[in-house]
Amino acid sequence: MSEDIRVLTARLADEPSSLAFLELAEALRRRGQLDAACKVARGGVSRYPGLADAHDLLARVLSDQGDLAGAFDAWSSALQLDPMRAGALKGIGFLYFRAGDVVAALDHLQRAAQADPDDASIPVAIARLRGEVRENGGRHEAPAPSPAPPAATPFEGIEGGEEGFLLVDGGGLRLGGMLRAPSGEDLGDRVAAQLAGVSREAARATRILGLGPWHSIAVESPNGQLILAAPTADTVLLTARDHGIPLARLGLLAERAARAARSWLERVG
């Protein structure tokens, strides 16, 4: 145990009602002792439930631990006590960004910049997010009325992660995934708008030609390949890769992604 932590621990033991827990938990967090930091921060929150600093601290620790839902709740509590708390605004902005809601992220960061004009990291983050909005043509889902903790994505753990997969509903709206142009631009929404029509046409063609329901469509282009499948009756999944992966293997990958999408849809829907 390092010297400062020892001192702080002693001070807290001497005077349990002091605010020494704030410094102690922060020192533990910085050293990576997240479980210990969490214990101290929770103790502080239960002793001082009206102290925004305590909630802010707990949120930082939980966020480092990967408990994003917990962090969201703790920062929300901090904001209820102190609506202009820059750290909490930054934290929630970060969580919204992780969830893909750039508009809500920007909103929180702008409030954070107002609350703490001296924090140079905030304008940098805002500039980055604005670039993101421009590239996506400003099409972003409106923030939920009562923000929910970020949900897990459909393609976690599958080769490529979110990128190169696109899950679309029957109305041509994106449910998950991301499709990037070589320039980095996310093409997902534009492609999604086309996919519902493709699915209807494929179903019609195989029905009228007496081939029964359709299973998949493989599209080979000189600079890439696509596989389309229908994980459920009213969704379409697109898997896109370059020619680095053989088409038959891409088919297997698409099947795995379809299974993952199906179980994700069951969980969220």
Binding site: T206, I208, L211, A218, V219
Partner: protein, 115 residues
């Protein structure tokens, strides 16, 4: 034998291919056909022409060039399509047990030779 008939011959010779047609994709009309009984050529031309058109637009939106081959797999068989020059598309309707790999090679090669 004309080039087009020769092309359709080569495709229909692949095991499991029930019919091959040359389709004008924009119109969805048959240019030439060689079909087994029970394959509705007019429907295949109209429906595949339209689907290939939509897939081409989708591929372009996804940053890809014009498709060279499309495989629509269904429960009781597949539709294969190889876009050629001038809005022409070579289409094959195949049984579930067809040799799709061989049909694909023949069709891509044949579609290129149509120009």
């Amino acid at each position: 034998m004309s080039t087009v008939q020769g092309v359709l011959d080569r495709v229909t010779r692949v095991p499991g291919v029930r019919g091959a047609l040359l389709v004008s994709a924009g119109d969805g009309l048959i240019v030439a056909e060689q079909l087994m009984d029970g394959v509705d050529g007019r429907a295949a031309a109209a429906l595949t022409g339209s689907l290939v058109g939509r897939l081409t637009r989708t591929a372009q939106q996804a940053g890809l060039e014009r498709p060279a081959f499309v495989h629509l797999r269904a429960e009781a068989g597949s539709v294969l399509a190889a876009p050629g020059p001038d809005d022409l598309v070579l289409v094959a309707v195949v049984a579930p047990d067809a040799n799709v790999g061989l049909a694909r090679l023949e069709m891509i090669d044949a579609a290129a030779r149509l120009s």
